[in-house]
């Protein structure tokens, strides 16, 4: 004789199964949340004394957690020795700057697949290593002839020399400069190979590209190509929020003349020297009238009267182009 059926019996069974599955799923989620992969890395690398999350409040307000897995050079997961340790690292101690300021990556993340990439990148984007590491100098410093960033500086000069600015202007704070080519600062990180292809054979990356090939100028000069790629990489790197290292061109124009003219007492007399590497090393190609409308009176407190047509070139090195917009 069949039992009298309980109302909604199959429903109750279904509910019990769903509730059980939900409980299991929640337990699995909690398990995974409480035992993140970096703990596993630490257990293997530092079995005696796992340090937990290590945070470095780095320059320019970023938080760097790289040392959670990469404690120091002698530890199993320590970073390989930096070749520029003798020169650059003395001025950029990892304890104050963290790793990501130079090597890139997402330093707040604790999983390798995120931490070893720039936030929001198009391609699989490994950390910056030499020589492309030099692109990082451009995050804080104006490209200049200084030890450690020779390639970056050469790339910036190549950029000016080849007239890239004609189609890829760096004006208008990255806004709307798609007249011919896209704004190079707004593309996100691209791999060196992609950038190299874009210069030598633009249709390889995007069949509809109307960009001319720069193979005639660059194919036989791998050093120049590499330098230019490094400079292009530096354009896409995020700039630190609060950093007074990088001079903005607007502020530059408001400086007193003595800031640029290293003459006597700030007066642009005699054999004056610009501090701007670009002007300094191309002086033979310019006449004074290329930039100056008239002779600048010594000790003038006015802003430097650079012609607006010339000002846009400032943006190659400086963070923002000069104030006056056409």
């Amino acid at each position: 004789m069949p039992k009298p059926s309980i109302p909604g019996r199959s429903l109750r069974i279904a509910i019990a199964v769903a509730a059980g599955a939900l409980l299991l799923a929640l337990i699995a989620v909690a398990w995974r949340a409480l035992d993140p992969p970096w703990r596993d890395i630490q257990r293997k690398a530092y079995p005696a004394d796992p340090p937990g999350v290590v945070e470095i409040a780095a320059c320019a307000g970023t938080l760097d957690r790289c040392a959670t897995c990469h404690a120091d050079h002698d530890a199993p997961l320590g970073p390989p020795r930096c070749r520029a340790a003798e020169t650059l690292q003395a001025q950029h101690p990892p304890g104050r700057f963290g790793c990501s300021a130079c090597h890139g990556g997402t330093a707040r993340a604790l999983s390798p697949e995120i931490a070893h990439r720039m936030p929001g990148t198009r391609e699989k984007d490994p950390l910056l290593t030499p020589p492309h590491l030099e692109a990082s100098c451009g995050r804080c410093h104006v490209p200049a002839r200084r030890p450690g960033m020779e390639r970056l500086y050469a790339g910036a000069m190549k950029f000016l020399e080849l007239g890239c600015l004609l189609c890829h202007p760096l004006e208008k704070q990255g806004r709307g400069s798609w007249d011919f080519g896209p704004d190079l600062r707004a593309l996100g990180r691209l791999s060196p190979r992609y950038l190299g292809d874009a210069l030598l054979e633009p249709t390889k990356n995007f069949a509809g590209s109307s960009m001319p090939s720069f193979a005639p100028a660059l194919a036989d000069d791998p050093a120049a190509l590499e330098a230019l790629v490094i400079f292009l990489e530096s354009l896409a790197l995020p700039r630190p929020r609060e950093c007074n290292q990088r001079i903005r061109a607007d502020g530059l124009l408001a400086l007193s003349c003595g800031a640029c003219h290293a003459g006597e007492g700030g007066a642009a007399r005699g054999a004056f020297a610009h501090r701007c590497d670009y002007i300094l090393h191309n002086a033979s190609r310019f006449s004074c009238r290329a930039c100056h409308e008239k002779t600048v009176p010594a000790g003038s407190s006015d802003a430097c009267p650079l012609l607006s047509q010339e000002r846009k070139n400032c943006a190659v090195c400086h963070d923002e182009p000069a104030g006056g917009r056409p």
Binding site: A14, I15, A18, R32, R108, L110, P119, G120, P182, F206
Partner: protein, 447 residues
């Protein structure tokens, strides 16, 4: 002393009974156990004692309202967790998101849960509206129809205000382009300023959106949600069907089904959130716009329409849609076929035909506007948006005249507008840099 001890002893002896009373207040009546259960429990109390059997069939409602409510519940829960770690400050918001995503245990899970539930709620609420509309269930339920419309708007508003909070590039520029769509409406500049708290998106905007997102809009939504439920009971439950139908007790037939749907939705969300990786783009940079700037998907059809024409696509099309939705209960005065999807076989033929025709015509119009090189003489008058609106009015007239039913006419018009919205949404998703069209398998140009 002895009396004190005696009283204490009595109290201790009575403790289990007192405790039971705390959780089971109310008087036990002489009626059957199922009604007693419904009266004791607040959640069950939302139901009437007896419901019509049709209420139990899945195809009557597709449980869309219940799914929406479940997702709202999940959103409240996960949102509270997210609130504990989030600071609405441009300097810190993105860092909070990074910590949440990668450093705080369970943070990524709750963020994924919140995001998926939010998108799901917009979808479910939208489908719920379509179901109610095409079943003519607004009939003699006008007030609840308006509560429902307000709830849908609030859901979109909540989703939109939440979109900005991660403060990454996608969020920043999506809100930027959505807010600029307001400028096409008369007085839109003022509205935009009110929404953003200034001419541009900045710290003021973030605080404003945060307050709207965590306090004002959820409170309004919760209030309206209970009014919505209250009206369902007051209006006699599910629309349509015979009033004299034999009824079944709400417990256990209805309540258990609801419990199952609730559990399945929660389970699906938990599993999806555990497997899904929530995107977090590069930090917001007001100087570097995303190209293209894309609105959140539920506004993307509108952005596509605005790209056709600011007036026709940005003002008239959404205006027509809202006007039809708001006027529907007053235009349609027939009681025949209420509760059945598209009213009758005739209505089904007309509406599906209009929908298919609109898809074909709309695709042709879109193709013409994308591929056709020569711009029309009057782009404000001749564009896909205005074409679809004309088609929708045509469908209203033709179907209304031929069937002699205002309801079927409006259904046909809505079917055309629905096709337009879907087409524009898909086209919007396919837009690349400079708002140019790219098929999903085509790569966007970068250099």
């Amino acid at each position: 002393m002895s009396r004190f001890l005696a009283e204490l002893g009595d109290a201790l002896r009575a403790f289990p009974e007192s405790l039971r009373r705390v959780f089971r207040p109310g008087v036990s009546g002489p009626d059957d156990p199922s009604s007693a259960r419904l009266r004791r429990n607040l959640l069950f109390h939302l139901h009437p004692l007896k419901v019509r059997p049709r209420t139990l069939t899945f195809s009557a409602t597709f449980a869309l309202g219940l799914c929406t409510a479940t997702l709202f519940f999940l959103l409240l829960l996960s949102g509270l967790f997210l609130m504990m770690v989030y600071t609405p400050d441009p300097q810190r918001a993105y860092a909070c998101m990074q910590d949440l995503q990668w450093a705080i245990p369970g943070g990524a899970f709750f963020r994924a849960l919140h995001r998926l539930a939010a998108h799901g709620m917009v979808v479910c609420a939208g489908l719920h509206l379509l179901r109610v509309m095409f079943a003519a269930a607004y009939r003699r339920r006008e007030l609840n129809w308006f509560f429902g419309l307000s709830l849908l708007l609030l859901t979109a508003g909540l989703s939109f205000t939440g979109y900005l909070l991660p403060w990454d590039q996608r969020a920043f520029w999506a809100v930027n382009v959505s807010a600029s769509m307001l400028e096409n409406v008369p007085g839109g500049e003022t509205l935009r300023g009110l929404l953003l708290g200034g001419p541009d998106i900045g710290a003021d905007t973030l605080v404003r959106f945060y307050t709207l997102h965590v306090a004002l809009l959820p409170a309004l939504l919760a209030g309206l949600f209970f009014l919505h439920l209250w009206r369902i009971r007051k209006d006699g439950g599910l629309a349509g069907g015979e009033a004299q139908e034999a009824s079944v007790p709400a417990w256990p037939d209805l309540v258990l089904r609801e419990a199952l749907v609730f559990l399945l939705v929660v389970l699906a969300l938990v599993v999806l959130s555990a497997l899904h990786d929530t995107p977090l783009g590069p930090p917001a940079d007001p100087h570097r716009p995303d190209n293209p700037e894309k609105a959140p998907w539920y506004f993307l059809w509108l952005q596509e329409a605005v790209s056709h024409s600011a007036v026709a696509g940005g003002v008239v099309l959404p205006g027509l849609l809202i006007a039809l939705l708001a006027l529907l209960p007053f235009l349609d005065r027939g009681d025949e076929g209420v509760g059945r999807l598209l009213s009758s076989p005739l209505g089904r033929r007309w509406a599906c035909g209009a929908f298919a025709l609109a898809l074909a015509v709309g695709a042709a119009l879109q193709w013409w506007s994308i591929a056709g090189g020569d711009a029309p003489a009057h782009p404000d008058l001749l564009n896909p948006s205005s074409g679809m609106m004309a088609l929708s009015l045509l469908a209203l007239l033709v179907c209304g005249m031929r069937t002699g039913s205002v309801r079927l006419g409006v259904f046909c018009a809505m079917a055309v507008l629905l096709a337009a919205v879907l087409l524009f949404l898909v086209t919007g998703l396919c837009r690349g840099p400079e708002w140019r069209f790219f098929w999903p398998w085509e790569e966007w140009p970068v250099a």
